[in-house]
Each structure stands twice: as structure tokens, then as C-alpha cells.
Amino acid sequence: MVKVFERPKALADVPTHYCPGCTHGIIHRLIAEVIDELGIVDKTIGVAPVGCAVLAYNYFTCDMQQAAHGRAPAVATGIKRVCPDSAVFTYQGDGDLASIGCAEIVHAAARSEQITTIFVNNGIYGMTGGQMAPTTLPGDKTTTSPYGRDTSKQGFPIRISEMLATLDGPAYIARVSVHNVANIVRARKAIKKAFEYQLAGKGFTLVEILSTCPTNWGITPIEALNKVKSEMLPYFPLGEIKDIEAGEKK
């Protein structure tokens, strides 16, 4: 018998602390698969955020740094400038990247920093117990939008990928999802392309991944995948939003 599917080597052989059914786990595995496939584990340096993925430094077998909340792109800039031949990636949640770290991601993108950002958009602050994120959908209840996100006081969700795509710096920006197997396969392709572009020195790359937080959404993992499909997708359309090899797409 041959192995059709096995745990990637770049994923450390330890259990994770993620809640049951949390798609952070899928995304971790996809990154590890890409690192394995490209054979770059010995020259990859990952940057863990502050967020549920803060312990990501325990889950990848490449070198890792843990960054201050929102500052992963700056930390990655420091690393990449020192190690220009490495593959440097940041792994960031929507609170981390779109809220407190907004300036850092915009400027890493504008500088066309040669890094890959994996942006895990689950529309909530998972780690701190379910507060509103910049990407929380209008009307959604969270612990800091207890009456539902009121856009007149609490603003509108930010579409980070579209926003960054207005810049000249990024080489590749895609929004993908992991709510079913077909999309997981597509997500993996996007991550791979992002790493390949980085290795080819094409510029800044970012893959936004729609993800779940069953715990703080207060629903089951299966229901959570359905919510991604039925509620998040309409607001956050999937696709390659910028690809310098292909011109702008939508």
C-alpha cells in the first residue's frame, strides 16, 4: 500500500491547543504541506502572531519567532532583510492583522517586502474570548457587540485583500476558504503560489483564508463551516485579487 495522505513533516508531531473543529488546524497543515512540497523547511522562518495561533511556534518544525500583537509584518521584515534567501511567513488573525496591525501590513505590502502573509479571517477575536473583529459581519453578536454589530457606531467590515490590492507593492493577493475539501485544495494552491512568488523575489504575497471559530461563534464545527459558506462568502468573495503575473483580477 502507498501513502495517499499523511501528516506533513513541517507540522510538528504534537497535539494543538485549538478547539475541536477549529480550522486554524487545517490552515496549519496546508502551510506545512507547502513547506514540505517546496522542500524549504530548513530555510523557512515563520512568525507567530498574538491570537489563538500564538503557539504556532510549537507547531511548525521550521524556525519560528513570536511577534507582538499586530507586528508580525515588521518582525518578518527584520528577519527577511537579514536572511534574504529564506522563506519568511507571518501567520496572523483578523484582530492581529486588520485591527492593531493595520499599519504594519499596509506598509509591508507597500514596501513589497518579500514575505508571505497567511491571514486567517474568522471574523472574531478568538483567543480573548470572542470580541468583535474588524471583519465581523454586520449584525453579528460578539462579546463587544452584544446587540449585534451596528455599522453606524461600530463601522463596516474591512476587506483587507481588496484594500491591499490597491497598492503597487503586492505581487499576489488571494482570498480562499477552507469550508470544504474543494476549497481546501484551492487554499493550498494559493499558499503554494504565494511561497513560490516569494522565493522568486516577485514581492509581497498574502493569502486571506476564511476560517471558523466554533467556540466563540457559539455553534458546532459543522455549522461553522456552513456559516462561512452562507454568510462570509457573500461579504468576502473568494479569488485571486491581485496577481502581478496575470494583471488584476476579481
Binding site: R7, L11, I184, V185
Partner: protein, 67 residues
């Protein structure tokens, strides 16, 4: 024919794998693992087509697939 193996102790019982099997053989077992979760298992391995859908959606890399 395929063969799927579960690292049962790592399973968190999220049930996602049960939703994607084209031949509907991934089910939840009737036991609790040491972490307190009800793990997933395969009801009828012979039917497995080794498509790896279950493995791909598992957030905890619990599943290995052979053919």
C-alpha cells in the same frame, strides 16, 4: 481499496470528517478517548476509495490514508 488510519488520541471529535466522505463510512465511535473526546472512525473500511477527503478536512491531522 483504501485504508484510513486515525491517530485516535489526537481526535477532538469535531465530526468534520464525517461530513465529507463520499461513501459515508466515517462515523463517530462509541467511546471516549483519554482527552475526553468521542473520536471518529470508519464503519466499513472496504468501501473506502482513498480519496483523502476526510484527511484533508481534519483540523488535527488525525487521519492518514493509504491505497
Amino acid at each position: 481499496m483504501g485504508k484510513v488510519t486515525f491517530t485516535e488520541e489526537r481526535c477532538k471529535g469535531c465530526e468534520l470528517c464525517t461530513t465529507v466522505c463520499p461513501v459515508k463510512i466515517v462515523v463517530m465511535a462509541d467511546k471516549i478517548n483519554s482527552k475526553g473526546f468521542r473520536p471518529a472512525t470508519v464503519s466499513d473500511m472496504k468501501k473506502c476509495i482513498a480519496c483523502a477527503a476526510c484527511a484533508r478536512i481534519c483540523p488535527d491531522a488525525v487521519i492518514e490514508v493509504e491505497k
